[in-house]
Symmetry: C2
Subunit: 377 residues, 2 copies
């Protein structure tokens, strides 16, 4: 290549923002396509604000890029792939997106590939949903098939009445997903990066803590034994193969009381559970995302520090974002601060995160929580 490649990104949130930081550092040009103005990616590259369902918009956008990727599985990257000129690479592929976007299809595909998942039923009708719930026993999970994230679109159902209410709220035309409640001990996560040529690296397994269905903290490395780590790496590799992933694939797992593991959910993009990689690993998830879609050699994913903890900075009110307490947070040692530059805050909205690096999970968790608690939006 004689000129620095141009990387197109669909989406204008924090994942696009941090991908752009990684790309720009390596001298790449970044173009964003977003349906409406988005402060997190302002002044980070060329920003195209247009109707991203319009084939002419998608074609014109893709023409200026060497590769186009996405920060969200819900962005119309599959539509772009249909209309992009043939010299433009588009990753992840429409097939990968189709297999992951719909939770029913995703779970079915995992199961057919022989990968361990909680028991589930694709309920087409309310009666089927109630029947499955009764079969698994309450409490049981009802999950919307599409566009559910951070707890939106999921319900823990304790009885028939709640089941009816949840059905009315969550069911799509093709029904919803009923899933056996798994009494897990911890939630874990890992992340795989893969190039079109087949180069593949797997990040360390991390321990993720959810509060109110949202990622609260991520601790790296997860305190698991070598055999479990090896097993998770095997699962990750098999999942990547099964979904024909290129770019990143985030894998969230349940660790049960007996130590066994089930795959909870997949995402074909940079993931909140791997933000810690920016400071704690030799190569961040964002850099490996960019390297992967360009079919460049992948970077070493290993931790370069003994331990790290990331804590999300979430909104607690509705209004204009006015970050407060930043100097107080920065007084905490060995903490790196990331503010996403969102202008509006809503309860639960991800406004930023902090990562502490250090010698132990206990120490870094204490530092990260101390810094995070100093900041309000």
């Amino acid at each position: 290549m004689s000129q620095s490649p141009v990387v197109g990104i669909l989406g204008g949130g924090q994942l696009g923002r941090m991908s752009a930081f990684a790309a720009r550092r390596m001298g790449l040009q970044v173009r964003f396509l977003i349906p409406e103005p988005s402060p997190p990616v302002e002044h980070l590259g060329e920003v195209v604000v247009a109707d991203w369902h319009d084939p002419r918009v998608l074609r014109a956008f893709a023409e200026g890029c060497d590769v186009v990727t996405t920060e969200s599985e819900w962005a119309p990257l599959d539509l772009l792939a249909e209309h992009a000129p043939s010299h433009v690479a588009v990753w992840p592929s429409p097939r990968t997106l189709r297999l992951i976007r719909h939770k029913g299809i995703q779970k079915q595909h995992l199961k057919e590939a022989g990968l361990p998942v909680p028991d589930f039923t694709w309920a087409h009708t309310r009666e089927e949903a109630l029947e499955a719930a009764t079969h698994y026993g309450f409490p049981v999970l009802f999950k919307r098939f599409q566009r559910s994230y951070d707890g939106y679109g999921n319900a823990t159902v304790h009885n028939e009445e709640e089941a009816r209410e949840a059905w009315n709220r969550l069911a799509d035309e093709d029904g919803l997903l009923v899933e056996r409640f798994v009494p897990f001990r911890r939630e874990l996560a890992t992340l795989v990066a893969r190039t079109p040529s087949g180069d593949e690296v797997t990040y360390p397994t991390v321990w993720t803590e959810q509060r109110d269905h949202r990622c609260y903290a991520v601790m790296a490395p997860a305190a698991i034994d070598t055999r479990s780590e090896q097993y998770i790496r095997t699962l990750a590799d098999r999942t990547m193969q099964a979904f024909e992933g290129v770019g990143l694939l985030a894998i969230e797992l349940f660790e049960l009381e007996d130590g066994s593991l089930l795959i909870n959910e997949l995402a074909p993009r940079p993931h909140n559970t791997a933000h810690y990689t920016i400071e704690a690993c030799y190569t961040s998830q964002f850099e490996n995302h960019i390297r992967a879609v360009l079919d460049w050699p992948l970077g070493v994913p290993d931790l370069k520090v003994p331990a790290a903890t990331m804590v999300n900075l979430l909104g607690h009110r509705t209004g204009t974002a006015t970050p407060q307490g930043i100097p107080r947070a920065l007084a905490v040692p060995r903490v790196s601060l990331h503010i996403y530059d969102k202008r509006r805050v809503t309860p639960g909205r991800k406004m930023g995160h902090v990562t502490a690096c250090g010698d132990s999970i206990e120490e870094t968790r204490r530092l990260a929580e101390q810094a995070a608690s100093a900041i309000q939006f």
Copy 2:
């Protein structure tokens, strides 16, 4: 503070670029003032291209900022300080800039503060220069007082004829600096960050290797004993005090054969010898630069990995920059690549750098050199 501060930066090179990356990560807004368009800072913030010696331009630029700083001691930050509204902080101060910009004043000030420097003479006339050269004995160094960097403006003079030639080339109205040649064993460097409130941190001492008067490689940490490290930290602190520095102060040192140390040169800004801090330290020089000028608490400057080596990517020809070999460089493990996005390449121009992190200087130096040698512009 209720809104994210706006940081103004004079200059549009790689130091401004990397300062902006650090500021943006923390959610700050960045504004650049540059006299002509500069690709390294394009799409990284608001860019004002205007005559930066015009007081009206400086006032209007400063009015939109909470603090203004610089990537270069040659930018007219002192002029801006004269014309900025009183609520706008400007760092480093005009006094610090004045004491550092002129090599004669800088050396004199170091000496008067009792800090160790090579013998030097402020030669006002060619005769004084020749006399000093004869006194020190050839070879001797002739240095231009202002705007000398990367070997431009310095000459190693071996005889009277060369001395006359160098005088004609390098002397300003007020003469030039004649300096005794120091047969040093190694060159070392350190970096201090300080806030207006007096918070101060010192980075580890590093070993810097020059080739053709340019920084070729930087190895962290320098293999020096604890007492020398302590002594350098004391020198760094005393220098920061003597120059009333706020922001960053880079200190380059000569280590003589007997282990004694002399201060070679100062720079009141982010410095090439501390680029390694981005990946290798808990807080990068660029982040601490931004924190310092905002009077925010400074971050921990310590290494978070056992060792790191940075190697510069220099131009070797004249023309349009076309980076080649990047995938080959990225195939080298544990290397981070920084390309500054300069559109023109000239011999010796700093086009980017690579940093390798690892367990030893030997290992990281091998990796960084391997990656750097793969890239051409």
